[in-house]
Point group: D2
């Protein structure tokens, strides 16, 4: 008898579990028609990476849209050359969905062409590159531009900016881009092309921008070139710009600590591509927990749009769950993470359109303006929490001898 009851109970449990598996929305989308708009189109995507795009858009609409969520945007890949600054990134910033940003130096360098009104053109990726080189045309996949009139001209203008007084000090890229953004903002206004520069938009909106590889890209190359010239000419006391990456590590970490510990809010990331910008954005939590030894649980929401797969060994493809084992992502929130294996030049515009159409603009957090406050809070928490502080101080003091 009991056996039968047990069997029945077991069967009921099995059925319940089965029902759970089969409780997702039925796959039965409506037909695309003249009336279908972007929101409907995405809401209609049921499965595979289309389903991930929908999940990402819903996370943006339902979670990222909240005022207490601090959003980081990381950019890798040729996004600004492809025009995604004016079309998608700047609108997303203006909409209040970007509170801080990491980007490759290359993305910020090519942003200059837009601010300087130097044209890049649609072209083809199947051209004769030796001929391009002969003719003085430079190529980024299917984007073509003049080597002399765009690339070299950008460098010439950049150099004139880098020797301005406000740049003559040690700083992080956060401050560096702020000064640069102010100048680009002025140029942008003069050029009357509309809002075309990401760095100018960051300046206006008080959004801190970081590059984790400051020497990598033409901006870093020109900074290094000027340092070399200053050294060669004995002018080191005049040209004093030095990028200190440690400042950036701590300043980015301070953003997350403030959002979580001091403002009791949540943090979210939008990772466009992978690479060093992704890692730099995600290492803020390990910096808090592992290095500064402040108890914390990891970022709350994570959207990752990439073409890199985890099996190929690049960090670019590492999924949120792997990040959870490092303390990067809160392991209890893995359901609120999305990895979409999509081409970013298609997915990012769609996500931005979805956000703008389904949410109200968020109030800008203007975290750049609060840099010193955040830095103080970071030190405060560090000194309070790090059980090793005294030992470490002792280690440093030994250096006196």
């Amino acid at each position: 008898m009991e056996g039968t009851e047990k069997k029945v109970a077991k069967h009921k449990l099995a059925c319940a579990n089965k029902v759970k598996y089969l409780s997702g929305k039925r796959i039965l989308p409506g037909p695309i028609s003249k009336a279908t708009d972007i929101v409907k189109l995405i809401d209609n995507m049921d499965a595979y990476n289309g389903g991930r795009l929908r999940a990402a858009c819903h996370l943006l609409r339902d979670r990222y849209s909240r005022e207490d969520v601090t959003i980081g945007l990381s950019l890798a890949g040729a996004l600004t050359p492809a025009g995604l600054g004016p079309s998608a990134i700047i609108p997303l910033m203006n909409h209040g969905f970007v509170d801080w940003m990491t980007a490759t130096g290359a993305n910020m360098y090519h942003d200059l062409h837009f601010a300087f009104n130097l044209p890049m053109h649609r072209g083809s990726h199947t051209v004769d590159d030796a001929d391009l080189r002969r003719k003085g045309v430079t190529r980024i996949y299917d984007i073509l531009f003049d080597y002399e009139d765009v690339l070299m001209e950008t460098d010439r203008r950049l150099i004139k900016i880098l020797v301005r007084p406000e740049f003559q000090k040690e700083m992080g890229t956060r401050e560096f881009y702020h000064h640069l953004g102010r100048i680009l903002n002025e140029l942008e206004e003069k050029n009357k092309l509309g809002e075309v520069s990401v760095l100018a938009a960051a300046y206006r909106n008080g959004i801190p921008v970081f590059t984790s590889s400051p020497g990598d890209s033409t901006i870093g190359m020109n900074v290094a070139g000027l340092e070399l010239l200053a050294e060669a000419s004995g002018l080191q006391d005049l040209f004093k710009l030095k990028i200190n990456p440690s400042i950036d590590v701590n300043d980015s970490t301070a953003i997350i600590l403030n959002a979580k510990k001091y403002e009791k809010g949540k943090t979210a990331v939008i990772l466009i591509g992978g690479g060093s910008p992704k890692n730099f954005m995600l290492q803020t939590e390990p910096q808090i927990q592992e290095v500064l030894m402040i108890p914390e649980a990891g970022q709350d929401y994570d959207i990752n749009v990439t073409d890199a797969r985890p099996d190929t060994g690049g960090l670019s493809g590492a999924p949120p769950s792997e990040g959870a084992t490092w303390g990067k992502i809160d392991p209890t929130k893995l359901d609120e993470t999305v990895t979409a294996y999509l081409d970013v030049t298609v997915a990012l515009p769609m996500m931005v359109a979805y956000v703008i159409k389904t949410t109200r603009p968020k109030k800008q957090k203007r975290l750049y303006d609060r840099g010193q406050e955040l830095h103080r809070k970071l030190i405060k928490s560090y000194l309070e929490n790090n059980r090793e502080v005294e030992k470490l101080k002792g280690l440093i003091r030994k250096l006196i001898v």
Copy 2:
């Protein structure tokens, strides 16, 4: 003197060529806003695969939309399970942009669930598959459905259809799907779920559908099962369904020959994914030129949406230019081909939305209804053109002895 002139001329030529490289539209897209619709969003995509999506959409709008263009659609990958039938493929068919179709058997098998009103559900790809198997749940990536109530039930209903009289003969998949589509169309009407079955839509619109691997997929498995049963039970004289792939090879070829030679029109393909459906669609031209020896130049327009790259050895990733060396694609028209490395669950809905919003419905060519006429034309051209016909006849006649 002359040297200088030559130099000047050379310099002018170099500049002219440079100008040509830099003559593409300037990359300066407008900002995404509340007013941005799907068409604007795509028109705004300047580079990388976003640029390819735009190019594909413009080809659809400007070339495929013409009444004299015969369009083939090939489907590989889990498209019908993901719901792309009702959302995108059927609307594209209804809009007159699909004149013939190739698909994997799996896509047509899973189309049955929709016609039979048996639900598939959104799920997750990170589930415990051993547990799913125990519970009787079947998975296609992130799509879940009941093994007994959906999979086995589909088979049971399919079998009852396969033993109907109209199926008891040798035929190609073109005819097979036509009979199947008629029944699915009736079921679809009864179920009142709207237009959900691709095969039903093909039936209504007179669109011939082909599967190049008729034994591969659960449809083919059930046909084979019935044949086995008939043999085992001595009922071979009653169950007479046999799929003859040669009929399909010639019937698909006849479509292209008619469009080009007899109607002096153009042919175009939309290749969604790669695999056997892509190859089967593209081999029509080599069948004309290489096997039937009828002079021809290759398909005129080619849009390929795939995630497969050419270097990995699959036909799925072979680009149109490689196809040109086989006679598949007209080598003089390579500029009117587009390969977009995009996820089809995102790209296909976008393309369909673009087409429906920017073009008028095309008149259905109803090529299924014209099957016999096309077959006769194929034979006619073959006998006229193939220099080897007499020799071949001689070879066959030797078989008498």
Copy 3:
């Protein structure tokens, strides 16, 4: 007190679990040196896809090598054009590690060039394809060959074979390739190039070969062309070759059923690439369980080398665990499956070298020769086990009226 004990116990359990996670071999490979051979090189691969390659090789050495394991090899992608027939596939067949095979028609078509002694050449994938077409050169990625002297000549010779008497009947590709293989074997001997044709090697070793898409590829095109000619010339009574895919479905299924049910052995697959050959090989188990309703558990071992990822929707990338929910793979044996995301032109030669160096040749199972016996066993099990048989017979009998 009890609380403390519980805590201690809990902690111990946690530690035990942690130890389990950390019980894998330490990552500390020896240095590659002049003495390193292929086996050592692979044994030394600790992680990522290198680790998967090692796992696959160990599965081959430790499991596939057993005499009671029946091995299926599926081939998709341009393997024979790339020369992998003579270098890797034929040696693996000769070593007894291939008991049956599925392949795209294209792989078998290009195998003919080798048997016919018609040369293909190393070339480049960045050539001017329009120029190639003009010059009469055909391209498969970086492989180049003469359109007239190789492609057309292969067709001409193939046609002469197809009109031989042994081909004048309805058959599956299994029998078709057997007849073809016998002729290629003779040609191969005459040409004295060594063992270069996969089909000839299959013939010699009694290995059944299947193509699930018989009309897709130049072989299928020529069969169709001859059928068209026969029809056009009233010679249908002489040229009687018809490929019936249902025969192949049942013949391939019979192999698995025999190995598992009748010989109490195990079955294993080596899936090179994905596509229709992969699905056709794996659908044998669902054919047994779902269609023929014979209780069974799925294949035992599964090695899949592919570049397709599961998220992109192609069956090519579907992992073994997904297959387990369909009954394709035994869900209790998922630990003995390996998916390696590797380029097959590198991975396959490495695996074959590993097998040949670490295992003894297996006795050939010569399953082709046992075709009728296997077919009888399939019918026997079907009639015994299928609870629906009588119902189905009834359905077919209704066709009399």
Copy 4:
């Protein structure tokens, strides 16, 4: 008459061109046998990415092996965690095939575990990450290690190293890694595990190592943590370590300039993965030409092993020909570049084995030891060649006011 002659001549030319296309080695590899070694296996690879691997190996054997070729190795992706340091990278360094190196910070951080004798283990990528986090196990794809005993312990030991006197200054990563390498070399000797640390091997061989994103990775995090502590504790005068990326930009550029201009040699790169290490290595030529305005032509040889495709927008996938339009690669040498789309955990060991088996060890160039000499030469060439030097000096001098 003339027309006929012309036609004949034209036909001859066409034939000649056709012959050229078909002049590549015939695809007819020998069978893999017990006697096949790694060199034979690779030499036998005719096409697709296998063919690229062969081409890369031949380039290494025939060009990179020359004493006048200066070789840079860039590392991105989880190479040291996967054990490729001891197995492949260190043997390649010892063989004299690495004259300078760029790497992500993560690769150099995980190199520490090996030097510190802290174990990482083979594991699985399909584990429950929330459980791992609970148990204190950290994951890198399929590599598992203890959070406390490995990750945190590495940090603790690293910190004690970072507060040593030799680190208390501004420096580039080149010098930073040199000091670190010396200490790791000592530890490695004590641990008696053999040569397991890439940084120790770099130290011994005088190989300069660069990381372009010094703040990105746990090494950079700990440097930043100590800087924060020093600031918070008023100990800035004691802890003075600052990484200046500009020093690295110029020091890496000096290597290329010396090799090409001063030693009239050639330069070559082995790019394993993409990302910032790839770009940083390749930007040396633009730094010479574009920023320092010294006429130069680009690197001579380029081998790139990556899974990133150019169309997805990451620099990781940008091919050498695109690099040629930037001056990175000599456009006249594009034939001596190879891009192989292969998994690096398989391809790198194969390439290293091939090199060690087919070439003699090269004399170490010990470029680290020559750092000051190279720096002086860079300044010398800069001052001689840059037409803008005086203008730039003037710009800097304006800062006085």
